[in-house]
């Protein structure tokens, strides 16, 4: 395993995020800034979480309930952070609209709002992939690889890259769903996001069982696919509504 392997793992985890960034985000400087600030936001939330959990780690007992508590509190905290992020975004949107009025440009389009939500989600997803996968990849660039005992079918780096891929997609698009849900006030969207997040996190619990990753990772992939499908349907509906309204006017 050499540099090629390391780059390959990194691309597995970050490939989709990278292509979204290059094709959509990088064209608009404002979205780049949104990605950066959302990444910072996620990092701060992770630091707070790890500060809180620092004193209980590493878990000594073999029981899995401490892990359940850890996952549930972490996901709960991150959903709270998402709400805070939404509040900040609301403020920003008002500022942008005011700015647009001042410079006599049109206010934010629906697509702009969706793009900002996508950038915010991408920041979260990228941060996840970076801190949970990429930062552990350094040894993969060397000559050796690493297997964890519980999941000896694949190298550790490959599994963590695949899991990160799932989570970065979930984070990216659940932010779109959540922002849209908040904006429209649709309860189903608002509830869907934490639920899919906690389900995905619990899927990783299966990895604690010996050879559990054979089951857990595909299930995680499935919940990723569900998120993508949900987001697609929702965005399509909004765009159609929006289009219909414009033509009616």
């Amino acid at each position: 395993m050499t540099v090629a392997a390391g780059i390959g793992y990194a691309l597995i985890a970050l490939g989709p995020a990278l292509s979204i960034f290059v094709s959509v985000i990088a064209r608009k400087p404002f979205l780049v800034l949104t990605v950066l600030s959302s990444t910072l936001f996620w990092l701060v939330s992770l630091i707070v979480l790890s500060g809180a959990w620092r004193w209980f780690l590493p878990v000594k007992s073999t029981a899995s309930w401490p892990y359940v508590v850890l996952l549930v509190t972490s996901v709960g905290f991150q959903e709270v952070v998402r709400l805070v992020f939404w509040k900040l975004y609301k403020k920003l949107e008002e500022m942008l609209d005011a700015f647009a009025d001042r410079t006599s440009k049109p206010r934010l389009f629906l697509t702009d709002k969706l793009l900002i939500a996508l950038a915010g989600g991408l920041g979260h997803g990228v941060a996840h992939a970076i801190f949970f996968c990429l930062s552990l990849l350094t040894p993969a660039f060397g000559r050796a690889t690493y297997y964890v005992e519980r999941c000896s079918n694949m190298p550790f780096f490959l599994i963590s890259a695949i899991i990160s891929l799932g989570f970065s997609i979930i984070h990216t698009f659940s932010m779109v769903i959540a922002f849209n849900g908040y904006a429209e006030g649709r309860k189903s969207d608002q509830i869907f996001v934490p639920v899919i997040h906690i389900i995905a996190a619990i899927m990783t619990l299966i990895n604690l069982v010996p050879s559990g990753c054979v089951v857990g990772v595909p299930l995680l992939g499935f919940s990723t696919a569900v998120t993508l499908q949900y987001c697609w349907v929702m965005v399509l509906r909004r765009l159609r509504d929006n289009h219909g309204r414009q033509t009616n006017n």
């Binding site: 608009k28 400087p29 404002f30 979205l31 780049v32 800034l33 950066l36 600030s37 910072l40 990092l43 992770l46 630091i47 979480l49 790890s50 500060g51 620092r54 780690l57 590493p58 892990y67 850890l70 996952l71 972490s74 996901v75 991150q78 942008l96 700015f99 647009a100 410079t103 440009k105 049109p106 206010r107 934010l108 389009f109 702009d112 900002i116 996840h128 970076i130 801190f131 949970f132 996968c133 990429l134 930062s135 552990l136 350094t138 964890v148 519980r150 999941c151 599994i159 963590s160 899991i163 990160s164 989570f167 997040h197 995905a200 996190a201 990783t204 990895n207 604690l208 990753c213 857990g216």
Partner: protein, 417 residues
Amino acid sequence: MERSVLDSLGLEIVGVMSPVSICMLFVVLLVSGFTPPTTSADHSSSAQVTAATLVYQESPSDPPSQKLAGAILNAAVFVALVAVVTFVLVVLYYYNYTGFLKAYMRFSAFFVLASMGGSILFSLLRRLSLPIDAPSAILLLLNFSAIGVLSVFSPAVPIVLRQSYMVALAIIVAAWFTKLPEWTTWTLLLALAAYDLVAVLCPRGPLRILVDLASSRDEDLPALVYEARPTVANPPSSSSPFPAASVELQPQTLHSNPNPDHTPDPDANPSPSRSSSISNHADHSVLEIDSIAEETHPLVPTEASRSLPESSRSNRTSSEDLEEMFDTTRGIRLGLGDFVFYSVLVGRAAMYDLMTVYACYLAIISGLGCTLILLSVYRHALPALPISITMGVIFYFLTRLLMEPFVVGTSTSLLMF
């Protein structure tokens, strides 16, 4: 379809952030490419005395209190050196020795590119075991440095080239700085951030005087400054340099004599630039050319190279403190020193782990963003180091002490959320 607000918003900020990011990226690559072969033991044995380690030579076996005291002394001496050099520069600039300053900066840019860049190049070649014969290596190096010197000071060079050489200079200097011992690096960064704050914001601070002097003379800041173009907005490595470059080249030859730099007479410079800027106020790209023509940027390397000749490699740092940012019609300008010290911090973080690198990078960039926002509020030169460096240091230690055990613990048991 109408253009939305989003399309152009934040262009200047990204125009500054992307070269900084590129600079950091290269420094991190250099550091992580070099650190594995040389273990920490090698490091201490090969440590040379530099300007930043005049007082105290750190060795890993010293007790923390001694390291701390020594590192603080080192930082104090270094900052004092920087202050003296800056003061000398201000005096020279005050008495209009711009010709001397310019020549000096040419020399120092050449020195940095050729000798320091050369040694980095050679260790890179050795590390990658690339076969290249000595004459062609030297030829390439000299050509590289010569173009660098030209591009830094001559107006006839495409802005993209100039920007890339700025970033290259910053990378080279920062790569040298990462060789300082650990404790000294941290105290040095903090001390420089504090110095930057004082020098720019105090009424009698040297950098403040320099900036005021430059603006009262209607000249550009006499220092190495990275300019982010507002209209063209071509970050150094961006892929489409040519249209932008050609746009700027032409007005430049039209309006000012091809090489205003070469005229030693300081008064000669302002006049062509002023006339040209008046004549083509309409298009921004032109405005900046004039600024290039003047001897503006040279300051930074100068200081560095002054202290260099003796034993010290690290002195170039001093030059960098001139970095303030300053926003005029020409857009945002960021001193090279900021580039260097940001990259030093990230490079130091890279010696620990990649996780700290990302955290520090985000912290520094967000600090830079905060500074830029403050800049748009206060509208005069601001120090770019304090906020970013403070945030970077805080995030480094938070990540190292709190986050890493947590993240490594959860993700090695394949738990994620």
